[in-house]
Subunit: 344 residues, 4 copies
């Protein structure tokens, strides 16, 4: 039984806590930590876990074998570094750090530790739909990939949200998943701000049309749309030289009670990607040891690096081309078909 | 941690064993039993479980807290009786017995024990699609139920399969699930044998068109088709006075590589209802104590009773009306919205 | 240019009048007739056609080369007989007569005339969806037909509507189209009245579950549902030994503006089968001469004969088996793949 | 009866000829013209039309009231000018001319004639799906339009085809239809050449990702893909501030005969847009007089102007912004909801 400690008990952390508590095999929820004592106490009581007010103490606890970091984004690098220092596997919600530079100490510390201890929470890699698209690339069904169309719509965002956050918090999922689908790196980005819908967005540039180009010439367009209003809607179609593969809509019972048929759309990512989160956490628990599952620190660094280029592209209204730093040998993918980084 | 023992290591038993071993929370696989020593030894070795050659010894083992019965159907009543005698919760794959009469000793022993120890493996009750249809009935979305259309297609069956088995092994799933969807009992059955497809069926009457009528007048038609050839295809549409609810097709990535679009169809029930089996076993493990979850012994008795009427209807080519024996007070549903038996 | 006269200017007749007036090739609308002078005058003025108060005069007019009968059902046989007497091709809306016996004088007069002058308005034979199902039977794609599932839902019916009318006015479309799809005759019928929905139906038995059996053993189930409420919904799936063919939903732009996706459903048959009516009338105009297109008098007789058996089955609550009278040689289908009657 | 003459008897011209001959109301096919005498004679014989070897003579014929131009693109302006000179309405297949400049004489001559004689064959405006999207914009269902996603895939193209032709022959349909959907003008274009698939394309840049920006800030992305292989596939989703509207797939009977469901995809535009061509030609015939139906000369000019900008964008790999010349008063749209040009 793996003892799990979770830092952060907001939406995402609480969801992970309930998952570990009731729906994982081979693990038990040991301790929770949050800066909000009331929220912390309530969840700890509900799930019968120890409430820790200090994250370092949680990480250091003898009964905590592995840590999930779901606290505020700015705390991620320090918390992950503490886990590495303690030699404990950590599943960190994205982003690894707010900037690409902020990821570097993690890369260095992890390499120095000699163990792959860090996993990043890019749950789409565990969604059966994305996995089927990836399989259609790997088995050759669709031929050589030439383009990917993505839609990423959120119902709404808080007041004061910015287009830069659309890129670094939403589009970063597409940045990760297209690298993983293609085994190919992004080399240029263009961002076009769509028509400002002042009535609904308070001046926010939304939607954005984001164009990604990969080293081998695949073109990816993303409608990044955080005030879509009607629901959470994520779509992906990969086009190849011999056909295409497109995400099915999530299974839903059709209920028809008027002059139109209706099929539910989820409100948010927890609904849409619930089974993917389950699979992600279980896969992480099953292989806490030194193996490549899901996204790793290098993937976290790359997505932060590319997201930063996207923000520059948004600000400059220009196509931004860039070159990734070379991948450290420590992060060489051992198995391209696994969840690891793209192959060259 | 609940110690689980599993009797039977064929397809279904092995699937449950792997599920308990790797995908359940709060349980561990302790022991396996099978009459085939080679198959037993192999699976026990794979999963690190104890191999027991004697079912009674498995049931009696101190580290076995709960039992899954997935052995040959004719052994079910005796194995379930042994579990009741040992006071251990048991999840028995359907059928509870080969005949309705064969279920009676189980009903009696369970009632005498004073505890609800027996669950039946009608996994469709745990499928999110059927649950959404049931919700559309319970929340009034579709009005008063008036009809249900069911399709139950299997790719193929072994040589020598009979239409009676189509009814008692396949249609029995529809018998259970429509009772559960409607909270209503079946009171009459008509079975029409379809066109004999000699080339593919070796003389088997297939498909069958089965008409069920409920106490409150809902009509259910079932295409029971065990040589459908192209795949495992289960559908259900419930029609009410104000609309309908219909099972969505399982999520599937669409891959299009020719002049037609294709979307995968599963080969069998393990593929189609995998998540439902997972949910069923977890729900059982979560509530081993005396509560009504899923189908119980009474449901097992009723489905055997109705399936027998279906076989008489097939043989006689006549509509067979019948009256169920009164439900013992022990099986009064405490919560109609739970997974228990239909309310009157 | 074929001069067309239309008798009856209600919904169906007015629709045909506008079709002939504006959307047919090689024809012009010459004259209209109706027993309601105001309605007649208004439509005649709108379309620039002559208003005739007397149907016999319309049929006899020198500029009327062909007649469409869309008047009240009880007038159909006499009007069709008058067309035959005048030697003029006639497209008669179903039914040919209110009873099978009522069709006999038409069969006799037409045979005596030596010309195929009568077409029946079974428009589904001209729907591209049904045609594709028929093609999948004829080209062997789905193997040997074994079953057909039909749904026929109307939004609502007038007060005082009866289950007998559901059979003779709605289900008669399924009776015709399954004969045409299969090239096979119906030999037995069972009708099960569904749960009476008193609140919405005023005591009408609705829906009905109708089971048709064909000479070669194909089973057809029809949900005949005239108070479905949410819209006009017609579906058909033909199941064969090697697969199935199912009507696609009509093309519709999806408009999504809330938490659910919606796609329009038509209110009635004129919306759903508009293109089929267009094709039917054009095909009729294109081949007014002695050739088999669409349904003919014999098909009209058979559908009335089978519908009468259906009403007996409803009244008796029994399966009604029957034998059709032999088909007169005059109606031998010359081309089974054309629109004519089923082959033996 | 409108006498119609058709110049050009290739695929498109022959299709129009058969349409006018057999499926239009109020018109008859009078004369055909082609530079290939054999092809001309064969079609003329088949349809009973006069074969004219000289286009000017066809246009001048007394029995030719209206002309369809479906000859080689380079002949379009001269043929249209001849129709204007003869005072005869002309439906010209796109393009109006190979260059925007080549359209100017037509604009001048038509304005000088004082009559709207020229219609352009942008058939998508007559497709019920695009019309429903436009209706969802006009009735406010989807809120303020913010983006449009288009896919335009052809199965294959001839050897030697160029990316410039993809823009001026394929994407020109999207250029026209988005102007018509939005009532808004395009003001900038970016073209990104996709990954070259040398094996299948002989060096052709394919697919192209085309980004259009409108005056009011709507972003349109188009996957222009002429070697898609699997079929002709045209899609369109318009995204607004309150929801989206997306083209339904064309109705198709689903035929399932293996482990996957299949639904036909058409080979080409004649299959996909057949009903739209029918509606286009009938609408043109119904309003030959001086009214705005469908695309007009100004629309032909604008689409050529924008397509030329697209080619410059392709060549330069830069975003090309441009300003349209002012629209001559002669082409002021009288009715924005009709088929005419966008409103300012």
């Amino acid at each position: 039984m793996v003892g799990v400690g979770i830092i952060g008990t907001g939406n995402m952390g609480a969801d992970h806590a309930r998952r570990v508590h009731a729906r994982t095999h081979g693990a038990r929820l040991v301790a929770l930590c949050d800066t909000d004592p009331g929220r912390l106490a309530a969840l700890a009581a509900e799930l019968g876990a120890r409430a820790e007010s200090d994250a370092a103490r949680l990480i250091g606890s003898a009964d905590v074998d592995a840590v999930i970091v779901a606290a505020a984004s700015e705390t991620h690098p320090d918390l992950v570094l503490a886990c590495i220092a303690a030699g404990k596997p950590v599943l960190c919600e994205k982003p690894l750090a707010l900037t690409a530079e902020g990821c570097l100490p993690v890369l260095e510390a992890e390499a120095a530790s000699g163990r792959h201890l860090v996993s990043l929470g890019y749950m789409r890699r565990f969604d059966s739909g994305y996995q089927a698209i990836r399989a259609a690339v790997h088995d050759g069904s669709v031929g050589i990939p030439v383009a990917i169309h993505c839609i990423h719509r959120n119902r709404t965002v808080p007041l004061g949200f910015t287009a830069a956050r659309t890129l670094s918090e939403s589009v970063v999922h597409e940045i990760d998943v297209v690298r993983w689908l293609l085994g190919d790196e992004i080399v240029a980005i263009t961002v076009l701000p769509g028509r400002r819908k002042r009535s609904t967005t308070g001046g926010l540039d939304d939607p954005l049309l984001v164009i990604l180009e990969t080293a081998s010439g695949v073109l990816i367009d993303v409608e990044a749309h955080v005030t879509a209003g009607y629901g959470y809607d994520v779509r992906c179609e990969l086009v190849g030289s011999a056909g295409y593969a497109t995400l099915g809509m999530p299974t839903a019972t059709l209920v028809n009670t008027s002059t139109a048929a209706s099929q539910g759309i989820t409100d948010d990512w927890l609904g849409r990607f619930g089974p993917a989160y389950d699979a992600e956490v279980q896969a992480w628990l099953d292989t806490l040891a030194d193996s490549a599952v899901g996204a790793n620190s290098w993937d976290g660094y790359v997505s932060a690096f590319v997201a930063a280029a996207a923000v520059r592209a948004l600000d400059s209204r220009e196509r931004v081309a860039f070159e990734l730093p070379p991948r450290p040998a420590f992060y060489d993918p051992s198995d391209d078909l696994g969840g690891g980084s793209p192959s060259p």
